[in-house]
């Protein structure tokens, strides 16, 4: 097989004249399993660059250490921010617990009174008296008489007016027949 192309690329590689694409061709060529004997010595170079670029020594322990280190500064920052915010929205923020307390008291009172009403109603139903002997008028005799008189008067006037109306009708009927 002819490896002239690779040899040329390698020559230009040493002179720093290869493009990124050409260098990736060299990388691909030298990191494959089988490389011809006269080029084999350069295999280690390209393999090394591949391996060295993937070295990842620092793991989660380092992350934890760093977050702890930076976290201390962070918490200082956030507490400072909260102080500023508290000053800005002071009155509403401070009264918030009272609003909550007032709301809960209102709810308790509402439920309490509703319950009381319910029980009272039940009591009334239970003590309802159906006995007619124990029934008492809640108004006086004179009031009844007055009412009676008033209604009689009313009826009289209605009767009279009806009579008048009748006469009128009769009169008009007689005049028509004439």
């Amino acid at each position: 097989m002819d490896y002239k192309y690779i040899e040329q690329l390698l020559e230009r590689y040493w002179e720093c004249q290869t493009s990124a694409a050409e260098e990736s061709i060299l990388h691909a060529f030298f990191t494959q399993e089988e490389v011809p004997a006269h080029l084999a010595q350069y295999k280690s170079l390209f393999e090394y660059m591949e391996v060295a670029g993937g070295v990842e020594v620092l793991g989660e322990d380092f992350d934890k250490k760093m977050l702890k280190l930076v976290g201390e500064q962070d918490t200082k920052d956030t507490t400072a921010k909260i102080e500023v915010r508290a000053q800005r929205t002071s009155t509403i923020y401070r009264l918030r617990p009272f609003f909550r307390a007032a709301a809960s008291v209102a709810i308790v009172v509402l439920i309490g009174s509703a319950a009381q009403e319910l029980f009272e109603q039940k009591d009334e139903v239970q003590t309802w008296d159906y006995n007619s002997n124990s029934y008492k008028d809640s108004f006086t005799k004179s009031e009844v008489d007055e009412a009676l008189e008033f209604s009689l008067k009313g009826l009289n006037t209605i009767g009279n007016s009806l009579k008048d109306a009748d006469l009128v009708v009769v009169d008009s009927a007689q005049t028509k027949t004439k």
Partner: protein, 170 residues
């Protein structure tokens, strides 16, 4: 611009930053410290970070500068202790199972780490992390032209090492 979230915007960069720091310091423990310091510093400057194009490039610049600081300090300590600075490349850590298993890969690892810091950092960014010339220039605070020249030198040095192996027959 959007708010920076430590867990989702910064923490996922940890291994990339670690690899860069390790390439510069050649010491796992120091690389981890540098990564930690980089993330903390980036978080402290998050207001500034919200305005940059690439959070990753910004963090990698911080990372490199911190790593270089540490190296300088360490080298100064070594010099004061004994006259001959220790060659760290051979003793550099192997942060991967495959590297430990494979003698050939260990050899390349040493080749890379014996290069001067600037050259191996360029190789790390350009060839291992696959960064573009522009991104690399941004991270290293160099001109793109300078990145290209340095990258070329790094590859040439690597090539010479390979030719040596060939002539010696390893």
């Amino acid at each position: 611009m959007k708010k920076i979230d430590f867990r989702y915007d910064l923490l996922p960069l940890k291994n990339k930053l670690f690899r860069l720091a390790l390439r510069i310091t050649l010491d796992s423990a120091e690389a981890e410290d540098v990564t930690q310091d980089t993330l903390v510093r980036a978080w402290q400057r998050r207001d500034e970070l919200e305005k940059v194009d690439s959070i990753e490039a910004y963090c990698m610049t911080i990372c490199r500068n911190l790593a270089l600081d540490r190296r300088e300090k360490r080298d100064a300590q070594h010099l004061s202790l004994d006259e001959n600075p220790i060659e760290t490349a051979d003793a550099s850590p192997l942060p991967d199972e495959r590297l430990e298993r494979d003698e050939r890969l260990r050899h390349v690892h040493r080749l890379f780490n014996q290069l001067p810091e600037r050259l191996r950092t360029i190789l790390q960014l350009r060839d291992i992390e696959g960064k573009s010339v522009r991104e690399t220039a941004q991270i290293l605070e160099m001109t793109e032209e300078n990145v290209k020249v340095t990258h070329h030198r790094a590859r040439q040095l690597l090539r010479q090492q390979y030719q040596k192996i060939e002539s010696h027959g390893l």
